[in-house]
Each structure stands twice: as structure tokens, then as C-alpha cells.
Amino acid sequence: MYRAHLFAFCLCFMTVLLIALILQGFRQAVDQEVHWEGQRQLVSQLGLTDLALWSEARYTRHISQADLFTPFQNMPGAPDLFPAGSILPPAFSLPQTRVEVVRQESSQ
């Protein structure tokens, strides 16, 4: 039985450790609120729209601003900029252009 008890103890220990880490994480997030406030302020001062994560292409640097609809600039999902290029979804506001057919009025 000592094996089972030792094992259960180890499991409990790991569980408690994990819970402690998670709780510590929540606390850290609360402390971080001040810093986030500073960064929010910076964002609003400079009018930033995106995170500076991937700087290799326009559409990865400013994900939300990219005009992916512009043809032939870089195929979305192209593997040349892996992995960012293949996992970023297209931006949202697509241009509202469209094709409408206006038929010639009948001569009769």
C-alpha cells in the first residue's frame, strides 16, 4: 500500500503545485494591470493598432490593417513566410466593390 500512498501523495503534490502556479498567475495578472494601463496609454497616444510580433511582411506586422485583398502581392497562406504567413487569417473589412450587371434596355 505504501506505493499507492506515495503515488497519491506525489499526485497531490503536483496538483497543488499546479494550482499554486495558476493562482500565482492570476495574481500576476492583477499586478500587471498597472503596466497594461501604461501600455494602453501609449497605444492611445501613438494610435497603435497592432502588436510588433512579426515584422517580416506588411500583412504580418499590421495584421489588422493589411489589405490582403490587393491581388498578387503575396498569396495569403503562402508558405514563404512560415509559419506566420500560413496561419494569419485575412483581414476583415474587405472593400465593398462588386460587379453589378446593368442590362441594355430592350429596343422594342
Binding site: 501609449l42 472593400p95 465593398q96
Partner: protein, 385 residues
């Protein structure tokens, strides 16, 4: 209760009998969970960072499209927008990209409006005169310079221009300013040779955030060649990129998960002659089928629970203590300037639960089900072996 304890005890003894095999499975299993959980934590934190920080951004960004592509906005486009009820202010933004072909680095150049006087998170001074700039920490680290040094950049006319660095952004703002160079707005216009009556786009702020969608429609009505992008869309973009069901996590983790399932299946279905014999002996000494299956359940649970807990703890340490050092290069791709992650923990317990279910349940199933057939045979086969 005692019975289950004793079965667990025996299950552990049984696992220890095949130490090498079970230990290697445990290691692979733990690493799989650690990888998955690392990606989970990382994306979740980035998502949190994005939503917390970018919520301070402009409510609406208005771009102009011409000939199917992005075009500079005439400043007088601001006038009809300003007149719309609910609009607080319209601020033209001047920004663009600059490529360094030597280091193969893309930089974002941004014009600093006249307001505000004091910039937050900036060490040193705000660039105010021409030939002054403020720079993100990532660039400073890549090129190795500090406040007081100067940068030589080539302007639109092909002329070399010298800029003195008056300020550096603080480390904490890496995720926002890593590749950023701030110029006084007039100077950036000169640098890019951008006409004074144009801007890159217009940042609009509104009184009531809930009206953004309606305002966007109105902008599009008054300025048919415009492309308004709302803040909710911006935030939604990041939500999607870093959401666990889409984007990064799915891409990276699916392969790992499938590989692990194959391993578990292979391991568990190929119930060895040795195990078959063990089950026969257990039945012969008075175990019934449910006892054997309970034993297999405990074996599976012991391995998978340890792997899950250990993997998650490892992932946590890796992501939040060591800044996701092993994962960053994978996500970084070809970016030369990539911010150091100093992430704030963010855990969605529901996701953790899903991860647990996805890793623990299949393994237990793969351990219990194949034993079923061996467990229901009559024990007398053992007498004849």
C-alpha cells in the same frame, strides 16, 4: 475503497515491472503535453496582452483605397467624418515601413503628432526637432546603440539622413514598440516625401464605442473609396489568431496529438503475450474481469495523469519562467526583430480541462479496451500453458 487502493498499489508494481517501456512512454507523453500546454499558455497570454493593450487604440481607422490597393488619404477626408454626430476627434496618422537590406530587417516608421507633450514608457526625451527620433528596444538591441547615438537612414530622395536618438522605449513595451521608430510628424513626411495634404490613414475616436459599426457605415457612405476598420475588428483579429481552436495552436498541436494517438494505440493494442499471461494468472488466483479492467484503468490513469500534471507544470515553467525560449523560434519564423516574451500568465481553466480530457481519456481507453478480450477468457487457459 481499500480494494481500489490495493488495485492501484498493484497497478504501480505492475508498471514498475516494465520500467524501461513505461518510463519512455511517460517521457514522450509528458513532452507532448508540455508542447501542447506551452502553445496553449503562450497563445492565451498573447491574446490577453493584445486585448488588454490594444483596447487603448483608435476606435476606427479609415484607410483609402485606390485602384484596388491602399492609398494615402487626403487630409480633407477628415472633414466629413468630423461632422458625423458621435465623432470625438479625427487624427491623421503618418506611418510607413523601412527596410534594412543589410540586416534584412523591416522597421515601422511612425510620425509623432504634436500632442501629447509627454510620452509614456519612453526613457529619454520625446523627439521634437527635426533629425531626432525615438526607437524601440528591439532595434536598439539588434544594432547595439543607446540614447545619444545616431542612425543614418536613406530618405525617399536617396539622400542619407542622420538622426539623433533622444529616447528609447522601456523593455516592458516590447510587444508594441519592438521595431518602431518615432519621428516628428513633419520630418517623417519629408523623409517619405509624402505630400503635406495627405496622411497614411485617419484615426477616429468616438464618444460611444457601441456606435462604431454605424459610424463605419456612414463613413463608407460619405467616402465611398474608404475602408474603415473598427477596433472590435482589430481585437477580433487577434482573438482569432491566438484562439485555441484556430490559428497557431491548432497548427502546431494537431500533428503532435495525432502522433501521440498513434503511439498510444500501437502501445496499447499490441497487448503482449507477457501481459496476456499476467491477466491469466490474476484470473486463476481469483480475480474477476472487472478487477482486471480496474487494474488496467489504474495503470492508464497513473501514467496519463502524471504525464498531464508534469507536462502542464513543465509548460508553465517554460512559458512564464523561461519566456517560451523553445517555442519562440518556431513562432518567430523569418522575423529578424522578434520581441522577447515577458508574458503575464493567463490560463483558461476550460482549455486546461479540454487538454486534460484530450490527453488522459484516449490513453486510458487505449489501455483498458485491448485488455478486455484477454480478461474475459476462462482462467483455465493458464493451467494448460
Amino acid at each position: 475503497m481499500t480494494r481500489q487502493w490495493k488495485l492501484l498499489d498493484y497497478a504501480l508494481a505492475s508498471l514498475l515491472r516494465r520500467k524501461g517501456k513505461n518510463l519512455s512512454i511517460l517521457v514522450i507523453y509528458t513532452l507532448t503535453v508540455a508542447t501542447l500546454a506551452s502553445v496553449l499558455f503562450l497563445t492565451q497570454s498573447l491574446r490577453q496582452e493584445a486585448t488588454k493593450v490594444l483596447s487603448g487604440g483608435p476606435d476606427l481607422v479609415v484607410q483609402r483605397l485606390m485602384a484596388g490597393r491602399h492609398e494615402l488619404v487626403p487630409l480633407n477626408y477628415a472633414d466629413p467624418i468630423r461632422k458625423l454626430p458621435g465623432v470625438k476627434s479625427v487624427q491623421p496618422r503618418v506611418w510607413g515601413y523601412y527596410y534594412d537590406s543589410l540586416k534584412k530587417v523591416n522597421l515601422t516608421l511612425m510620425g509623432l503628432p504634436a500632442e501629447p507633450e509627454i510620452l509614456v514608457l519612453l526613457e529619454g526625451e520625446r523627439p521634437s526637432k527635426g533629425q531626432e527620433i525615438a526607437v524601440g528596444r528591439g532595434i536598439a538591441d539588434t544594432y547595439g546603440f543607446g540614447v545619444g547615438d545616431s542612425l543614418l537612414l536613406i530618405d525617399a530622395a536617396g539622400e542619407k539622413q542622420l538622426y539623433r536618438i533622444t529616447g528609447l522605449f522601456e523593455t516592458g513595451s516590447d510587444l508594441l514598440t519592438n521595431d518602431l521608430i518615432l519621428f516628428p510628424e513633419a520630418e517623417l513626411r519629408r523623409f517619405f516625401a509624402m505630400p503635406t495634404n495627405r496622411a497614411t490613414d485617419l484615426a477616429v475616436s468616438v464618444y460611444n464605442p457601441r456606435e462604431v459599426a454605424t459610424l463605419a457605415q456612414k463613413v463608407r457612405y460619405h467616402l465611398p473609396d474608404s475602408r474603415p476598420i473598427g477596433k472590435t475588428e482589430i481585437l477580433h483579429t487577434y482573438d482569432t489568431v491566438f484562439h485555441w481552436r484556430s490559428g497557431m495552436l491548432l497548427t502546431v498541436s494537431l500533428a503532435a496529438l495525432i502522433a501521440f494517438c498513434i503511439l498510444a494505440w500501437d502501445k496499447a493494442t499490441g497487448i503482449s503475450a507477457d501481459e496476456r499471461r499476467e491477466i491469466g494468472i490474476l484470473k486463476a488466483v481469483g480475480w474477476d474481469t472487472t478487477d482486471v479492467l480496474a487494474l488496467k484503468f489504474w495503470e492508464g490513469l497513473a501514467v496519463s495523469l502524471v504525464a498531464f500534471l508534469l507536462g502542464t507544470i513543465l509548460a508553465w515553467t517554460h512559458t512564464y519562467v523561461f519566456g517560451a525560449g523553445l517555442l519562440a523560434p518556431v513562432i518567430q519564423g523569418w522575423s529578424v526583430l522578434f520581441p522577447d516574451f515577458d508574458l503575464t500568465p493567463s490560463v483558461d481553466l476550460y482549455q486546461l480541462f479540454i487538454l486534460g480530457m484530450l490527453t488522459v481519456t484516449p490513453y486510458i481507453a487505449c489501455t483498458v479496451i485491448p485488455s478486455w478480450k484477454a480478461a474475459i477468457t476462462d482462467p483455465d487457459s493458464v493451467m494448460r500453458s
